[in-house]
């Protein structure tokens, strides 16, 4: 369930819209080598507050990751990107992004023209590609996404622009694994997996 009610404006470059601040004890101090791409590494300390985790989910793993790689504005990368860290895209990428653990954030200035697969995905910029998140997807108010979204939980801020299909997965399904090779299981069979909106109180349609 999304606990965040108000967005905290990030202040550091590369930081993303923050969820409630994580405690420092959640973070592993040993740094993982940055991804093998031309990125800028961001110190772990400021990132701790930017990448708060939700409890008892894949985010626990993500929270242990201290390394954030940033594709800075003005940088354009062609080719697939994979790794085991957080990734902030402020520039432009043309190639699939796959993170086994960690969070992909496409900043306001960021542009991704490919699929993104990661436990957590936050979009503030422009994406033309499918989003597959094991845990959650957030589309910020300035986001512009063209493609399908496959995730367990989704948060869409007012103002987000989205063209595509939303499908929800349930834990343990084939599509829910990081590989995502299976076919998606929609929330139809398991509505409890979907985040319950504050407003949806209507009874189900008659059958």
């Amino acid at each position: 369930m999304w606990r965040k009610t108000e967005e905290v404006k990030p202040t550091s470059p590369g930081a993303v819209a923050a969820e409630p601040a994580a405690t420092a004890s959640n973070l592993n101090s040993s740094a993982t080598p940055p991804a093998a791409i031309s990125t800028t590494s961001v110190p772990a300390a400021p990132v701790a507050s930017a990448f708060a985790s939700t409890p008892a989910t894949a985010s626990d793993v993500a929270a242990a990751i201290t390394t954030v790689s940033t594709i800075s504005a003005g940088l354009k990368i062609r080719g697939d990107i994979s790794g085991n860290c957080h990734l902030v895209v402020e520039g432009e990428t043309h190639g699939k992004i796959h993170l086994a653990n960690g969070r992909v954030t496409v900043a306001t200035s960021g542009r991704v023209n490919a699929d993104i697969e990661a436990p957590e995905i936050e979009i503030e910029g422009n994406v033309q590609g499918n989003l597959h998140a094991r845990d959650n997807v957030r589309l910020g108010p300035a986001s512009h996404v063209q493609g399908s979204v496959l995730t367990r939980r989704i948060r869409i801020e007012d103002g987000a622009r989205f063209r595509g299909k939303v499908e929800m997965t349930r834990p343990g399904s084939a599509a829910d694994s990081s590989g995502g090779k299976g076919s998606p299981v929609t929330a139809a069979a398991s509505p409890v997996n979907a985040e319950k909106p504050k407003t949806a109180a209507a009874a189900a349609p008659r059958s």
Binding site: L139, I154, R155, I156, E157, D158, A160, R161, F162, R163, G164, K165, V166, E167, M168, T186, A187, A188, A189, P191, A194, E195, K196, P197, K198, T199, A200, A201, A202, A203, A204, P205, R206, S207
Partner: protein, 231 residues
């Protein structure tokens, strides 16, 4: 699918049923809430579809997405009006940047509409069980509207339903629509995205949906008409 064929025993939802906004509506500001008997009927028509596919042609909202997903539908979203306006803007920019006297880039409205639909509403045939189009058709250009209707008809499954709204007079402001519950919409005032093109008479509404086999119209207190049509 046909409302005349469906068994309605036990149902209290009729086109002329007294308006009873959903429970959530009571807590919301009444000026931004709209009772939608059309939506209620739309959901009833699709209630037999397991994992029915719905296409929302308006702006994406969390509440709308979750409403349909929790009911077991698969929802696709395409903000057609915004896409059209952005397309026109891009075309204008292209024309402006063209050399003076270069007439090659000039195209008719019909050609623009065709070019736009080369990239918009790209879905397989007979794909969707339902299409939602609030504040869309009476904002579209005359050249684009029939082409859009043709495309919508194509991507809908036989028996599928379209729910569309039409103003009876020029609206004071431009709104987007959030689904609050199964018969309540929240109007979200939005900076004017497009000028209201025209007011359709009921006969004209039936004409633009000429290929559809059945229709039903609901008139709200705000004089907005909801048309529900079956393929």
């Amino acid at each position: 699918m046909d409302w005349t064929a469906k068994n309605r025993l036990g149902s209290t939802a009729t086109a002329r049923a007294p308006v009873k906004p959903g429970p959530e509506a009571a807590t919301a500001a009444s000026t931004n809430i709209r009772v939608s008997n059309g939506l209620k009927e739309f959901l009833w028509l699709l209630s037999d579809e397991r994992q029915g596919k719905i296409l929302d042609l308006g702006a994406v909202f969390q509440s709308t997405v979750m409403f349909f997903i929790e009911k077991g539908f698969r929802l696709s979203t395409e903000d057609l009006l915004r896409s059209w306006k952005e397309f026109l803007h891009a075309e204008e920019e292209t024309l402006r940047s063209a050399a003076v006297g270069d007439e090659n880039g000039r195209v008719s409205q019909g050609m623009l509409a065709g070019k736009f639909l080369d990239t918009a509403l790209q879905y397989p045939e007979d794909h969707f069980h339902g299409v939602l189009a609030w504040d869309l058709f009476d904002y579209l250009d005359a050249e684009l509207l029939p082409r859009v209707m043709e495309r919508i008809y194509t991507v809908m499954r036989p028996g599928g339903a379209v729910l569309a709204s039409f103003h009876s007079r020029a609206p004071e402001r431009f709104n987007r629509y959030k689904v609050v519950d199964s018969q309540t919409l929240e109007l979200v005032p939005t900076p004017t995205l497009a000028v209201h093109a025209r007011v359709f008479q009921n006969r004209e509404i039936l004409d633009i949906f000429g290929k559809f086999r059945s229709s039903k119209t609901f008139v709200g207190r705000d004089q907005v008409r909801e048309a529900l049509l079956l393929k």
